[in-house]
Point group: C2
Chain length 212, copies 2
Amino acid sequence: METSSEQSRRLSAQLAFIREIDRVKSIYRQTVLMDGARRENDAEHSWHIAIMAVTLSEHAPPELDVLRTVTMLLVHDLVEIDCGDTFCYDTEGMVGKHERESVAADRIFGILPHDQAAYLRDLWDEFEARETPEARYANALDRLQPMLQNYATSGGAWREHGVTADRVLRRNRIIADGAPELWSYARAMIADAVSRGFLDPGPEFRREMELG
Amino acid sequence: METSSEQSRRLSAQLAFIREIDRVKSIYRQTVLMDGARRENDAEHSWHIAIMAVTLSEHAPPELDVLRTVTMLLVHDLVEIDCGDTFCYDTEGMVGKHERESVAADRIFGILPHDQAAYLRDLWDEFEARETPEARYANALDRLQPMLQNYATSGGAWREHGVTADRVLRRNRIIADGAPELWSYARAMIADAVSRGFLDPGPEFRREMELG
């Protein structure tokens, strides 16, 4: 049984972690709020996809552990406290990203008591590996949410960075692995964004649409 | 069995809800970020306490349903889209707050398919009523997090609004109902904040400390 001083050491470590992660509220992403007022930050993004995980769970694989998925989503961007946000269409910035973020994950989750540090560190690895149903569904939501934000802002970050529809399709096709119904919706949204002029189609748009 | 068009109607309603709640990211609270840079908003606050619910669950009542608690916390401030944030020490602003927020809860959760609207609406009522272990623990975290933010910013919103330690103790004593160990910690933090000059004790500080 735990002694009271062991409990108090655990609580101290947990509160140190809770204080440390406040910094995620200052990590800004490329996507803007749906009213276009400003960029959103990682804490807001994580909150939004956590609610999506709950409300869209009927479109996820059956028998999914929703709490595991939500926890994964709540912590998936904490590594950006040390590494910053890399825009997903920034090909150069993506080089070595996973290695840098792994070091950050060790440090940040390592603030917690050992058992909790190991649990959340594994959950982050699981998210990154995209092999379990929970990780696939979580990644699908992580991709879908910025698409909703970009569409709502008439192209938003897509337009600002000259990202074309064929790249959006290629980048986000993994949504189909975690939630096929959401990928159908996303494809239709991309086609609609092209027809409204929110997105340039790019040279391979038609081929990418055929690939699904 | 659901028809495909019923599925698609449900998804449309779910995505309408997901778009609507983006507005929570623009509802600013009185508490400031731990680096003092700016006020935090409801989405950031909700994200933070959802992670707290997971990482502090060993201090909650046993057999607690963590997913239920996390979901409750993720949605507990959505009503502020219509009602705005009321500073918890604003006695006038608190009058009629629950009635105004109930109307907002009907509208906002009502965007979802009926079964999900009812589930989240009930969960919001449960949070407000503070009767179940999940609601008591959720309320404890909702109270503790701004205290951590205020302490980290040398008094923060307490100081800005001239809130005294006796009022902080009275307002937050319900933390003890949901997580007694966290209340012990919070009381020690308040006493420390007084000794550091982050908080004025107020006329009844000593008596409130004795009341526990």
